[in-house]
Symmetry: C2
Subunit: 350 residues, 2 copies
DNA sequence: TCTCCAATAGAAAGCGCTTGCTACGCATGC
DNA sequence: GCATGCGTAGCAAGCGCTTTCTATTGGAGA
């Protein structure tokens, strides 16, 4: 029913081997023969059987991309970058590589499931984005899985995640979250803020911890006491920023600044402040993290730390497909850039 | 080197057939035997070979999702919804289905390429999101491809795209862009606006045309002349909204409202107005389309047409995996809801 | 006690492709 | 003029799995 290689071979009056070689282009075939084969392919609307091809060749053109939330531009941008870089003449069959984007929802179980699925598909490469869970058991399980993927021949690239000791062959492009957090709070302290609320991300995640540590580092360096009551944890969403801001205001009415775990949370913080009738940055300054596209359109525009998500994703994609050298030691740090905009200013005198 | 079914069989002292049956769970296997097999699987860290399995079974667990731009939440939300619905006990091997998200960048060539790739992988289903190109040649080519996919046994669901005559077996979940556009402009006219600028999306796309037609329908119904100078086309991005707004202001300084092709474009329009020192909605009202998450955080909050992207994507996912009945005739229309917020108001008297 | 059937396991034939090896020319070198 | 080698094409053996068909049980029913 469906057209196979053999059908094409018959029509072109050559052997299946020749058709395969024309399609893969990695073996000399006389121009006239190639012509004939290609015409037959065209005439019959032949489409290679991917699974059969992958089975025989023991490789595949699939590249997995693990993201926490594909609807979040933070991940969408990285995924888009990875995909744009892996595209192009693929490994075999003149085909292109395909990106398999997997939504883990941040759950380590699902992360593990998807890694198994990718291993099952014999993925050519896997790019894992987003911070890691800090739970030792899970981290170990994922590390083991990644190592097995490496052993099975898949390239593994971590993008925006610290290296895993368990998988030494995996390349890691780590975001300098700690440094970014440090610079952000330094900036606020420099403006004169002393009572700064911090809305952190979910606990048990490296990203959350590093950003928070940077913040605390800045406080310590300036000799500002770190009041634990002024740090709240929550998911990376608008709602969390909204609720936490109200709570911070309750705990410390003299608050002059709020640092959010990321831009989305910051947007929620802004909304809460507006609803409370407080002006930004007149009454309270707000800062985010990531510099997602919408941040510049917030009113006032959000001060934040710009992470080069697209660039990092693109690099991950190139490394995953072997088009760029691995960084020395398999580890590279990607730095963020402080973007000072309208949402932060000097605190008003109380 | 790598562990195969046969290895597991040997260790469990059963035949490969039995192992396969345990893994697929679609054939009676005695509890004790299953136990033994599962232990062997575990002991050996066995991972099924996906390509081999797909080849032998002539089906795969891959579901393709075509999107114009994965970094755009409009598509990200749909993709996320599709993926969350296709997940769960997959077709075979106790595995789950995997989503393959393909970034077409809106280019019909790449759309075609990806459809071929998916056909090559023998995808279980394909969900195509985003408006269609109106170029007859491309439309026909894509229609043919979709039909071939259907013929090859893949389910095809169009999500947010009008039905294709060429692929009668494809289910279509169409957005009521025309109706939404109509209601939006009706709203503005109701507020008293008469000089309304329209920043349309890229030409040659069904989405663009339908939204614009709705707008013009509303104008006509209210007896407002449709000045072609007040309609500009551009891509679906912020920049386009910014530039077009400046141009509209140049063409018609007495403009009192701007309708944008979508929320992102509307954000650009807002930025341009702010930069020109115009207040929203005091001087100029602004309206968007889609109601993406950030729209409510615009200042003032954006009046827009809410498209149930998540719901539509989820439904597409369920239909794609056969967990929901197809709509009668294979076609369903998804309606948008007008969200009136702060960015639109009565025009100031000139 | 014997037959028959349900339940379970195995043997083996592919699925459609890739690729190592072989075969066949024909031009070249001595 | 014969051996050598290069440029092409074919043969056939898998790749690792699924599934049909067959074989072997151990009761249950007669």
């Amino acid at each position: 029913m469906t057209v196979t290689l053999a059908d094409v071979a018959a029509r072109a009056q050559v052997s299946p081997a020749t058709v395969s070689r024309v399609l893969n282009g990695n073996y000399p075939v006389a121009a006239a023969t190639r012509e004939r084969v290609l015409r037959a392919v065209d005439d019959l609307d032949y489409v290679l059987n991917g699974p059969a091809s992958s089975l025989a060749a023991a490789t595949s053109d699939l590249v997995g991309i693990l993201v926490n939330d594909i609807a979040d531009p933070f991940f969408g941008i990285m995924a888009s970058a990875v995909q744009s870089e892996i595209t192009g003449p693929g490994g075999r069959a003149g085909g292109e590589r395909m990106a398999v984007v997997c939504n883990t929802g941040g759950s380590p179980e699902r992360e593990l499931t998807y890694l198994t699925l990718l291993q099952r598909q014999r993925a050519a490469a896997v790019v894992v984005t987003g911070g890691a869970i800090e739970d030792a058991t899970h981290a170990a399980a994922i590390g083991r899985k990644l190592r097995r993927l490496c052993d099975a021949g898949s390239r593994v690239v971590l993008c925006g995640r610290p290296p895993t000791g368990a998988a030494p062959d995996a390349v890691a492009l780590t975001f300098d979250n700690r440094g970014g957090g440090r610079r952000l709070t330094d900036h606020l302290i420099g403006l004169g803020h002393r009572r700064i609320g911090y809305i952190a991300g979910p606990t048990e995640r490296t990203t959350t911890r590093h950003r928070l540590e940077g913040h605390q580092e800045a406080l310590a360096a300036a000799g500002v006491a770190n009041d634990p009551l002024l740090t709240l944890h929550g998911p990376y969403d608008r709602r969390s920023g909204y609720d936490a801001t109200l709570e911070l205001l309750r705990r410390e009415p003299r608050l002059t600044a709020v640092v959010a775990a990321n831009d989305t949370v910051a947007l929620g913080a802004c909304a809460a402040l507006r609803d409370r009738g407080l002006s930004i940055p007149g009454d309270v300054s707000v800062a985010g993290f990531d510099d997602l596209p919408f941040s510049i359109d917030a009113v006032p525009a959000l001060t934040t730390v710009r992470l080069p998500l697209y660039e990092a994703g693109a690099r991950a994609g190139r490394i995953a497909t072997g088009r760029e050298e691995e960084p020395p030691g398999g580890i590279a740090t990607v730095h963020g850039e402080l973007m000072v905009r309208g949402s932060t200013g000097a605190p008003r005198r109380h």
